[in-house]
Symmetry: C2
Subunit: 162 residues, 2 copies
DNA sequence: ACTATCCGGATATATGACATCCGGGATGAA
DNA sequence: TTCATCCCGGATGTCATATATCCGGATAGT
């Protein structure tokens, strides 16, 4: 089991965009440069977040991306679902309907018990992700990051936005 | 994100083995036949569960697999970890150390906030899985399955064990 | 001895993740 | 108007992993 690397990139981008002045936007190239990741591929994930309404794209010269709504209203679950999709990790192939114990399809009214358990675990995972917003992450990073790193990041932002 | 199909197979096999008389074992071929899955591939997953101590293998003619401990003491988390591995779904690539805001490695004492959030969600998922035992699943299946399916399954078992 | 079975390794194939590129369209600046 | 950016979607290529199979060696019943 494995989550796409793009989720990490997307989350970091959202955190960076969350500390920008209102209405300011950063283009794909700048976001890629800041995080040291390939620009062409990051674009794919930014487009995905734009499609699901997390980011707003500003076309044209001096355009870029900015948050589509306040950072308090974007959760980590939104990011994961935008980039990794909403398909549950477990897919029941209904193997109970195979083999010698199989009965006609209409008998399988109730969902497979194993399926149900996996779905509950999936729901718990998503609930945990939904409880954390991008704004929460901004606060955490502000507390944890070294002053030096914060200073360098801010200095770069001034250059990128100017 | 996606869980190996083998987890479903493994869980169903454990449930079937849990209803066997004590000390009775079923070989790979029978387990595969009962669930309608390829025997050679199922063997891989059974071996994995054997290595992690969920199953006990009985070598030699008329051997097979049986539970290594009571069904009440085998959880769904055990199954998932045996077959899908214990590696967390999210892997932090520390992209905060890239780009213009990077500082010397010794400055990154505290874990990445995004990483921390993903780990908490992963823990919630595992906790949910750990709260359900194979014995619980046997009970659920007993309640939910159609009497007809249970009868056919039992009949097949009598033949397979005889 | 013979047969049935587990076990590990080697191998083949398919699926999806990762990564890049290009053409089209939209926007603002010159 | 013209031009330089920039977003967007599709096509493409590469690579890692999941899926699936097979074989030889070891082991235990008959």
């Amino acid at each position: 089991m494995k989550i796409s690397e793009g989720v990490e990139w997307g989350a970091h981008c959202l955190v960076l965009l969350a500390v920008l002045p209102a209405d300011a936007a950063l283009p794909t190239g700048r976001l890629a440069e800041y995080h040291g990741v390939p620009s062409a591929y990051l674009a794919k994930h930014l487009q995905a977040m734009s499609r699901t309404g997390l980011l707003e794209s500003v076309p044209g010269a001096r355009g870029g991306y900015r948050l589509a709504r306040p950072a308090t209203e974007i959760t980590m679950l939104d990011v994961v679902e935008a980039i990794d999709g909403t398909t549950p990790a477990f897919r029941c192939t209904e193997i109970r309907r195979n083999g010698p114990a199989a009965v006609p399809a209409r008998e399988y009214r109730l969902p497979c018990s194993i399926h149900a358990v996996m779905d509950r675990a999936d729901a718990a995972w998503r609930a945990e992700l939904a409880s954390v917003s991008i704004a929460d992450l901004v606060a955490m990073v502000g507390e944890k990051a070294s002053p030096e790193a914060l200073r360098k990041g801010a200095a770069w932002l001034v250059g990128a936005l100017g």
